[in-house]
């Protein structure tokens, strides 16, 4: 894809930071949002120290970030994702939203693209294409992403959205494997 895509990452925890570091090395316009704006600014400064020319920017408002973005990545705990979904609802219609949260579950059913957590998010955002990414060992108590990760699992109901997110991950050196439990 030649047209530069804008991707917003909401959340600057371990996973948000690792995803931001990967995407900053790619050909994307990356926006970073956090409940605490200073966290977003700190992350942007850290990324710019490593790669001076990276196209990364801190945004004060997740609503504006999601409005501007082609793809939205929610890298927060699931309860916070629902809260953010309520805020950005109006501007993510028909867009791809990536939920990057480790299932933290004992049961394999909870990994399904239609599991209760995703259903809850989808009910809040009925016209948004939700894609999940998680650690390639979904049962592990590990973050979805870390700086050395080379593979993740990906799931979603919309084939084109899964394909689009997979292409983005591949472009920054992460190999996604689709799962439909």
């Amino acid at each position: 894809m030649l047209t530069k895509q804008t991707i917003v990452i909401i959340g600057t925890g371990f996973t948000g930071k690792a995803i931001a570091a990967r995407l900053a090395s790619g050909c994307f316009h990356v926006l970073i949002c956090d409940k605490e704006f200073s966290n977003a600014e700190t992350l942007v400064n850290e990324l710019k120290e490593i790669e001076h020319d990276c196209d990364v920017e801190a945004m004060e408002c997740s609503f504006d970030g999601a409005w501007e973005a082609d793809i939205i990545i929610l890298a927060t705990h699931f309860d916070e994702q629902k809260e953010v979904a309520g805020i950005i609802k109006e501007v993510v219609n028909q867009k791809i939203l990536v939920s990057a949260v480790q299932p933290g579950t004992e049961t394999i059913e909870e990994l399904s693209p239609a599991c209760s957590q995703v259903r809850a998010l989808q009910e809040l955002l009925p016209n948004t294409k939700i894609v999940r990414i998680f650690n390639d060992d979904p049962m592990a108590d590990e973050p979805v992403f870390n700086k050395n990760i080379t593979k993740v699992l990906i799931a979603g109901m919309d084939d084109k959205a899964v394909e689009a997110v997979s292409r983005i991950l591949e472009s920054v050196g992460v190999n996604p494997t689709r799962v439909d439990y």
């Binding site: 047209t3 530069k4 804008t6 504006d64 409005w67 501007e68 109006e90 028909q94 867009k95 009925p126």
Partner: protein
């Protein structure tokens, strides 16, 4: 949200509340900053773009490396690479923002669904295609038959806001002139006043 979009649509085809609700499910809201691209030549044009606020342009780059502006799209206008949008082939045009913009995008499958679910929209699509064709023919005729001064005067008459908002070298590109030729013509017109 999407006030201008629905105002324009309702001017052409009056929608019921239910139909407007169907429309809202297929609209993708997008902000674009000045100088950012929504489409670059070589990518497939996936959306028909309505400008809610701001100003966009479409252009192609000639073999000599010059920009040739095809269309300006201010508030209330549609813009896309229609050929690419319909055929799914790579776009020949670039589309970028000349001012910070708020856009409403509709995908090709979204358009098809809307035509099925809101049959009035089929009529709107037909009117849109017809108007695009008339505009294309008119522009071609102006380019071939009008003098430099006449081309510029026509643009000032039909789109005075564009002439105010866009730098002269872009106006020249849109009219198929060099900036120097346009500058000379404007000076001559000004001297005669």
């Amino acid at each position: 949200m999407h006030e201008v979009f629905f105002k324009k649509l309702n001017e052409a085809i009056s929608l019921t509340g239910e139909e407007e609700a169907i429309f809202r499910t297929y609209l993708l809201p997008k902000k674009l900053r000045k100088k950012q691209y929504i489409l670059q030549e070589g990518d497939v044009c996936k959306y028909s773009i309505f400008v809610e606020k701001g100003l966009l342009r479409s252009y192609t780059i000639s073999d000599k490396g010059n920009d040739q502006i095809v269309q300006f799209a201010p508030e209330g206008w549609w813009i896309s690479d229609m050929y690419s949008f319909i055929t799914g082939e790579p776009a020949r045009y670039n589309i970028d923002a000349l001012e910070d913009a708020e856009l409403v995008l509709i995908s090709n499958p979204g358009m098809e669904e809307l035509r099925k679910q809101v049959p009035k929209f089929l009529e709107f699509s037909f009117l849109q295609m017809r108007n695009a064709y008339i505009a294309f023919e008119r522009r071609l005729s102006y380019m071939v038959n009008l003098t430099t001064e006449e081309k510029y005067t026509k643009l000032v008459q039909t789109s005075p806001d564009i002439v105010q908002r866009v730098p002269q070298h872009m106006i020249a590109s849109y009219l198929g002139l060099t900036p120097e030729t346009l500058s000379r013509a404007r000076k001559q017109m000004s001297n005669r006043k």
